[in-house]
Each structure stands twice: as C-alpha cells, then as structure tokens.
C-alpha cells in the first residue's frame, strides 16, 4: 500500500484531517495546527521567505531541527544560493513569487547539496499562463534533466484545496511528461525520505 504524504498544509482543522484520512494520506507537514488529530502523523513545517542572505541566516537561527521541516522561498538570487548551501534547509519552494531565482545554476547547486524542489501543484494551476509555463520550463528542462526529485504539495488552507493523490499523479504524468511510476514518488518516497531525515519514521 502506498503511503501518501503532503508536505505543506497551511492550516489543519478537524474537517481537513478527516478528508486527508479519506484520501489516504498517512503523514502531513503543517504550518499552523489548530486542532490535534489522531491517525495522522503530523510534523511542523516552517516556511521562510528571505530577501537577503543575512535575513535568511537570521530566520534560520534558532529553529529546532528535530521534527521540523524547513522550506525556503527565496526572494533573491543570493538567498536562493544560500538556501541551497545551508544544511538546515530541507526543501526550496518554487512559486509565482520566486520562480525567477530558480535557474540552471541554482538547480545544479541544489543537486550538489541534495535539496529537492517543492512545487505547490494546486496553486500552480491558478497562476497566469505566463508564470505557469515559466515554472513548467524550470521543472522540465532543468530539474528533470538533472534527475532531481520533485516534491508536490497542496499548500491547502481549507479542505477543498487538498490534493487527491490519484488525480495528482495522473496530472503530473500528463503535464510534465513523466511516467506514472516516477510521478508516484513525488507524493510518496521523496517526502518520506525528507521526513525520516527530520527524525520521524513512518
């Protein structure tokens, strides 16, 4: 049986937790946990937005490494490079605000330091066509060319923004031209590896 993991849920309430269970998720990373839930492995997620290297350093300072997943949304090239270098950072997010800084060199650097790229797929579909295709190019031309893992998240604030695993896998396969067996890994094995790196086992 596949273990689906969503590594970015903005806020978790009882309704969202119930639907997550229905959809077959076993573990999630939550930014803001409103209620305690059973039957789901919940870890804390910190999303850091940084304009400069110094700002990122300051924000990373004092974050506990155990049971906390750290993701960075770089808002400048220097912050992006620093995030790729720093061992405290688990993933680097690509969205409409920071896709410009995820270039070929950045991806190569991420490969060197084994930092996966995180794509909020639900939001990606709502971007303007220009931004959507810019992100698509970065993922297909640079990321898959270097055989780097892609992690897909929902970034859900409400229950209706959650990702349906089966649909997500098929969409990844259709949109990014990757085989289904590889698309499954974006929701299962790659996030699981990250979680186990944070000291949690499933």
């Amino acid at each position: 049986m596949k273990i689906y993991i969503d590594l970015w849920i903005k806020s978790l309430d009882s309704k969202t937790a119930e639907i997550l269970r229905k959809l077959g998720y076993k573990a999630i990373a939550v930014e803001e946990e409103r209620e305690r839930v059973a039957d789901l492995l919940v870890i804390t997620k910190r999303v850091i937005e940084a304009n400069t290297r110094k700002e990122l350093k300051e924000k990373l300072h004092g974050i506990k490494r155990k049971h906390v997943l750290v993701s960075v949304k770089p808002l400048s090239i220097e912050a992006a490079r620093m995030a790729a270098h720093d061992s405290r950072v688990d993933t680097i997010i690509i969205d409409d605000t920071c896709y410009k800084y995820i270039d070929r060199n950045q991806i190569n650097l991420m490969k060197q330091h084994s930092k996966p790229l995180e794509l909020p797929l639900g939001r990606w579909l709502t971007y303007t066509p220009r931004k959507r295709s810019a992100i698509y190019r970065r993922v297909v031309y640079y990321l898959f060319h270097t055989k780097m893992p892609l992690i897909v998240t929902s970034c859900a604030k409400n229950w209706d923004e959650l990702l349906v695993p089966r649909s997500t896998i098929y969409l990844l396969s259709i949109a990014f031209h990757i085989p289904l067996s590889q698309a499954v890994l974006s929701l299962t094995s790659y996030p699981r590896e990250l979680i186990s790196r944070c000291g949690v086992s499933i």
Binding site: I19, G122, L125, D160, V164, S167, Y170, S173, I174
Partner: protein
C-alpha cells in the same frame, strides 16, 4: 614440359573451383541476409499495423467517482462542471475527442459514473481531483475506480469504499 602443363591446368581448375565455391557461399550468405531483412520488415509491419488497429478502435472506460461536499448536487450541475473543467484544462478539441459523459449519477450518495474514450481516461482522472467548486459551492471530486463495463461500474458504485 608436359608435367609443367599438367600442374598449370590443375592450378587453373583449382582456382576456378575455388571461385565457384566463393560465389556459392556469397549467394547463400545473401540469401540468409535477405531472409533476415524480410523477417525484420514483417516485424515492423506487424508493429505498425497493431498500432493502427489500436488507434482505430476506441474503447470506452467507465470512471466511478464520488463527491465530498456539504451540498447535494444535481446531475446536470455535475456534468456541466466536468465538461467545462475539461475544456478549460485540456482545450476544446480534446474535450470534443474525449467526450466525457456523466452516464449515471446517484444524488443520494453523491456518486456517479463518467464514460470516456480510453485514450483520455488519464485526463479525466487528473481533472476530477482539481474541480474545486460546482456552482460556487466548494467540493472535492475523488476518482474511485476505472472499469471497462457499465455493469461493473454500477456494482462498484454501491459497494466499494462506502465509508
């Protein structure tokens, strides 16, 4: 002198025999090669013909899905939402080719069956998870199972994953 001539003749005959042998061998080799080439040609032909046949025959697939929402939807609302979402996501031409039809919908359990051509089956499954609202009310569509017959689809509709 006569002995020399005899040797010469024998040598000539031998060389002639050798050349004839070489020609025979060459012919046989070319025959083997030609047979191999013809085999390959047949294989390629069969592959192409199989592909053509599969494209020509479009089969139907039945996708069973359920809706999670606070509201109860009617059949027309759901079908319209699916068609609209398909043409938005994959384009008008693909929508015409795929022709996703909601052939069965049970409003009491909010589950239904979509009929689509086998080529666009993946597209419909991908689409269902990303329909976030129908008529301004938030919802989530979950694909449950894909089958090849409507009878099996109906059976699954009422049995699988009732929880």
């Amino acid at each position: 002198m006569s002995i020399d001539l005899q040797i010469l003749y024998t040598l000539i005959i031998l060389s002639l025999a050798l050349s004839v042998l070489a020609i025979i061998l060459d012919i046989s080799r070319t025959q083997v090669l030609s047979s191999k080439v013809s085999k390959l040609e047949n294989l390629v032909k069969s592959l192409f013909s199989r592909k053509e046949r599969s494209i020509k025959k479009i089969r139907k697939r039945y996708i069973v899905f359920s809706i999670i929402s606070k509201h109860r939807y009617k059949r027309i609302e759901v079908e319209e939402a699916i068609r609209r979402a398909f043409s938005e996501m994959f384009g008008e031409i693909s929508a015409a080719k795929a022709d996703p039809q909601l052939i069965y919908f049970d409003p009491s359990i909010q589950r239904g069956v979509i009929r689509v051509s086998h080529i666009y089956k993946d597209h419909v499954i991908a689409l269902l998870g990303f329909i976030r609202e129908i008529n301004g009310r938030s919802c989530l569509l979950i694909p449950i199972k894909t089958t090849g017959t409507i009878r099996k689809a109906r059976k699954i509709l009422y049995t699988l994953g009732k929880k």
